[in-house]
């Protein structure tokens, strides 16, 4: 039977992490399903388990000079209730999982699980999220696109714990989030698209386009962003096909149980077109 560690402080957790080979258990919404066993038989964890979700040091939410900083044990529900969170961010967090999942699931857990379909990941990519990783001996800050290396693979070292996520608490004139799945709540996305844009005086000052579940990692389409930046909004209609071409070439979706390559490519392009044609004008 595997052992459980339930430290009372972050420093204790980091020492356990340093000297033992453990699985980190934060909210547990993914792990309890991944290691699920027969009914009435405890989940089958392959290694000792380090529980960190209860640590107060990982539950802070702060706003410092335009940055939104929150601990890795902060749940979706805690963010939703927080005064510093923008209305747009709240609206999209409400589309993740279900009420019961949001009450225990964490954003840091979604990042560490590193699923290509992780629902908060396109948001973290678009908002240039940084993760703070700590070990007993050092601390480093890694951007989300460097942190996630592939499906289920991150560059978290065996002695480290993600302690914090930092987001630029910017406001955008447009926020667009769509996830396509078999059900509104809880479904694992077939495709998800997240776009933030800042249009001022009819000009596209800033735009970030991210696509989930269409490759081994979330795709941020920098080339398309570059093409759109600085353009007069009414002229964007002329370059839509060029933008969609870039998108279609950039994503590498696969056929799997949830969907097909063809469907995913089509829907990702359609959603981006919807944003550029319908949402941008409003």
């Amino acid at each position: 039977m595997v052992k459980a560690y339930r430290p009372t402080s972050l420093s204790e957790a980091l020492l356990i992490r340093k000297y033992h080979d453990v699985i980190i258990f934060n909210g547990g919404t993914d792990l309890m399903v991944k290691y699920r066993n027969w009914t009435s038989v405890a989940p089958n964890f392959p290694k000792d388990v380090l529980y960190i979700g209860h640590l107060d040091e990982l539950k802070h939410i702060d706003e410092k000079s335009d940055n939104l900083i929150f601990g890795s044990a902060v749940t979706y529900a805690q963010l939703l209730k927080h005064q510093h969170i923008s209305h747009d961010l709240k609206n999209l967090i409400e589309q993740i999982g279900s009420i019961a999942i949001r009450n225990i699931g964490t954003l840091a857990g979604n990042a560490c699980n590193a699923s290509p379909a992780g629902d908060i990941l396109p948001v973290l990519y678009a908002l240039n999220a940084n993760l703070t990783l700590k070990s007993a001996d050092h601390s480093r800050v890694v951007a989300i696109h460097d942190f996630i290396e592939g499906p289920g693979k991150t560059n978290l070292r065996s002695d480290e714990i993600v302690t914090e996520i930092t987001l630029k608490n910017q406001t955008f004139s447009h926020t667009f989030y769509r996830k396509v799945g078999t059900r509104k709540a809880n479904a694992i996305s077939k495709v998800s698209v997240f776009i933030v844009a800042d249009v001022r005086d009819g000009r596209m000052e800033d735009i970030r386009i991210t696509i989930g579940a269409c490759g081994p990692k979330v795709v941020r389409v920098y080339e398309a962003e570059q093409l759109l930046k600085g353009k007069i909004v009414v002229e964007i209609q002329n370059i839509i096909s060029e933008v969609l071409n870039i998108v279609a070439n950039k994503i590498t979706p696969i056929d799997d149980v949830r969907s097909t390559q063809e469907y995913r490519t089509k829907v990702a392009c359609n959603l981006i077109e919807t944003f550029l044609v319908k949402e941008l004008i409003l």
Binding site: M1, V2, A4, R6, F25, G28, T29, M32, V33, Y35, R36, T39, S40, V41, A42, P43, F45, V49, Y51, G53, H54, A77, E94, G97, S98, I99, A100, I101, N103, I104, K184, A185, N186
Partner: protein
């Protein structure tokens, strides 16, 4: 692992494997069978209970995370006046058919009404987004919760 928590208002200590699901602790160890296992992966809401007043799926909670927490199941909740209102609402609207999903829906209704005492129909629909029912087609459950809100005015 020795775990101490509050269950339906009473302190309780149990000695279980640390990763044992709250669902199994409740159903098998403590015989609280209102908690149902549907999907076992957090999608159906049949095993929903309240953890510190918040709706959770007990199939996703490891026993080790319960230390010092407060759990309420339907067995405890049914002794409250709020439950009476939900019960009457559900009865009068035909919200219960086979009944398997009902305990989860009652807990979801309580979680909704305790955070929003006057939800709109859309808010009710959003409030039960994590619960599946294969009999009613949901409309009667939505109606039942809206009815319960009227019957139980002042209780939430």
């Amino acid at each position: 692992m020795m775990i101490n928590f509050i269950l339906n208002g009473s302190s309780i200590s149990i000695d279980v494997e640390h990763s044992r699901r709250l669902l199994d602790v409740l159903r098998d160890d403590l015989k609280l069978t209102s908690v149902k296992e549907g999907c076992g992966e957090g999608e159906c809401g049949s095993c929903a209970v309240l953890l510190n007043g918040q709706l959770i799926n007990s199939c996703l909670i490891a026993a080790a995370t319960l230390e010092g927490q407060e759990v309420v199941t339907l067995e405890g909740y049914r002794l409250t006046k709020r439950f009476e209102a939900i019960k009457e609402g559900f009865e009068s609207c035909g919200s219960v058919q086979c009944g398997f999903c009902t305990p989860g829906f009652v807990m979801a209704a309580e979680a909704l009404l305790s955070s929003n005492r006057d939800p709109t129909e859309d808010e009710v629909i959003k409030g039960i987004e994590g619960n599946l029912c294969r009999c009613t087609g949901y409309q009667m459950i939505v109606a039942g919760i809206l009815k319960a809100k009227e019957i139980g005015k002042g209780l939430w």
